[in-house]
Amino acid sequence: MIKYRNTLLKLTAWLCGGLVVTATFFIFGYILYHGALNITWNFVSDRPRGVPIGAEGGVFPAITGTVYLGALSGLMAGLVGSITAIFLVFYCRNRYVKGIIKASIYFLSGMSSILFGLVGYTILLHMLGMPRSLLAAGITVAVMILPFITIRIIKLFEEDSTELLHASLCLGVSKTYILRKIILPSYYINILTSITLGVAYGIGAAAPVMLTGAVLNAPTPQSVTQPFMSLSYHLFILVSEGISLTNAYASAFLLMAILLVLNAACRGLEYFKKKGD
């Protein structure tokens, strides 16, 4: 009986694993097949054209806008997330304060992306009077990816570094010294990886930027106070308005390519760090 149960368990595990791999390869393959066919140099380097806009031309401003959005939100969320994680793991000894901050982060991580868009729109654009801009969208996306980044960094520190911290403290050195000499040099690649994965998650979301800064047609932004184009929002409009399914697939392909590059960069950084060790 136990033998059959084990076989059934193994079979279910293999089936579930296979299902995940199949779904991933199907989605990637499908977008790759439909998107790659429509990628031309003109599509990558030109701005959107035609009537309705986006039916012809390219998505160059959307590519640059997406990259700017990722950099801006990653910078803000990365800084706040890293500092919060450092505070929680290395400095905060009051378990009530710790509990409140952790609960807030987990609560934030459970919110849907459209709610971030709505709150960003209400607070930044309505209450603070900010223009619909890269900055407003960057802040909104930063808040959205903040819990993702913070939780990953907290987990990283809690798993590996508390023993290092205690062993160091026993030598009479300060926490700042430990952070500077051991923790940050040892974990900066992992922290960068967490931020990069957070950015990959953030730039793929259309909901938080559609109300705060992304527009259907705009040049590459020259400053953070200008509206911008984002690949995710462009893709959403192309499909929902029925403008061009071919261009939608091509845009999806480019978005996926950016996400893949970011993921590959993370893996590469981790690989070279391990090799260096």
């Binding site: 000894r93 290092l164 205690h166 026993c170 009479g172 010294y177 040892s186």
Partner: protein, 260 residues
């Protein structure tokens, strides 16, 4: 093993004695140490014995207040000499009271940098002085001869016993007045155990040593003063004679069991 030349702990240093009064330590709702009152004599090796989980390690961690970093709550009084540790800055306290953990932990640097890491924090040394100190402290723990060609090797590549000796060398290099070791020889073979024991016996001329061990033979070999703990309480304290003539029934039972 002889102390290498240039051993820099001055004999004139005011060497401390540890006194605890009604020390209580708890983690969340679990009380680990209960009204723990004891005295640890200076320039002696004090061995703490007792069954697993009786609070021996927690006692060591409360002396340098690491217990608070682990989320423990500490009440009562601990004196180093005539100073209450709550009046001392933690960094000063921890430089005076070195602690080596049971599980050897090396920092993610080379062997040499593991020694330089605390050394450069506490002292301003020239490059040549740094190299001398590294050599000196590695020699003290018998590690230098084994790895003198590989000082720039990542420390995690050392064996368990070598890591433990590196941890002890790293702790000694900050020149503590009290050296506390939590089962320091659990990962060592007999040869290295004996060399560490010899080192501790030589060190007690300069510093106070407190050691937790489950190895009764080791305790008998090195102890000047013994504390026997059970369930977070100090059951009996005394000199070497505690092994042959324990006053408390619990101590007798423990020693008989460990001798079995």
């Amino acid at each position: 093993m002889r102390l290498a030349e240039g051993w820099s702990i001055s004999r004139k240093r005011v060497i401390s004695i540890i006194t605890t009064k009604n020390l209580q330590v708890s983690y969340l709702n679990k009380q680990v140490l209960k009204n723990f009152t004891c005295e640890i004599p200076k320039n002696k090796i004090t061995v703490i014995i007792g069954s697993s989980g009786c609070g021996k390690s927690t006692f060591l961690k409360s002396i340098n207040r690491i217990v608070e970093e682990e989320g423990g709550r500490l009440s009562g009084e601990i004196f180093i000499g005539d100073k209450n540790i709550s009046d001392l800055p933690k960094e000063t306290l921890r430089k005076q009271v070195g602690l080596v953990f049971q599980t050897p932990l090396v920092f993610p640097f080379s062997v040499e940098k593991n020694i330089l890491y605390p050394l450069n924090y506490h002292f301003s040394l020239s490059k040549s002085e740094q190299a001398d100190k590294v050599k000196h402290y590695l020699q003290l723990t018998g590690l230098y001869e084994e790895i003198k060609q590989d000082l720039d090797m990542p420390a995690y590549k050392l064996s368990g016993g070598q890591k433990q000796r590196l941890s002890i060398a790293r702790c000694l290099c900050i020149e503590p007045a009290i050296l506390m070791l939590d089962e320091p020889c659990s990962a060592l073979d007999m040869k290295n155990t004996i060399s560490i024991e010899k080192l501790l016996i030589e060190l007690k001329e300069f510093i106070t040593v407190v050691i937790v061990t489950h190895n009764l033979s080791q305790a008998k070999r090195i102890a000047d003063h013994v504390l026997f703990m059970d369930n977070g309480e100090l059951i009996e304290a005394g000199d070497y004679s505690i092994f042959s003539d324990p006053k408390e029934e619990l101590t007798r039972a423990y020693i008989e069991y460990m001798n079995y």
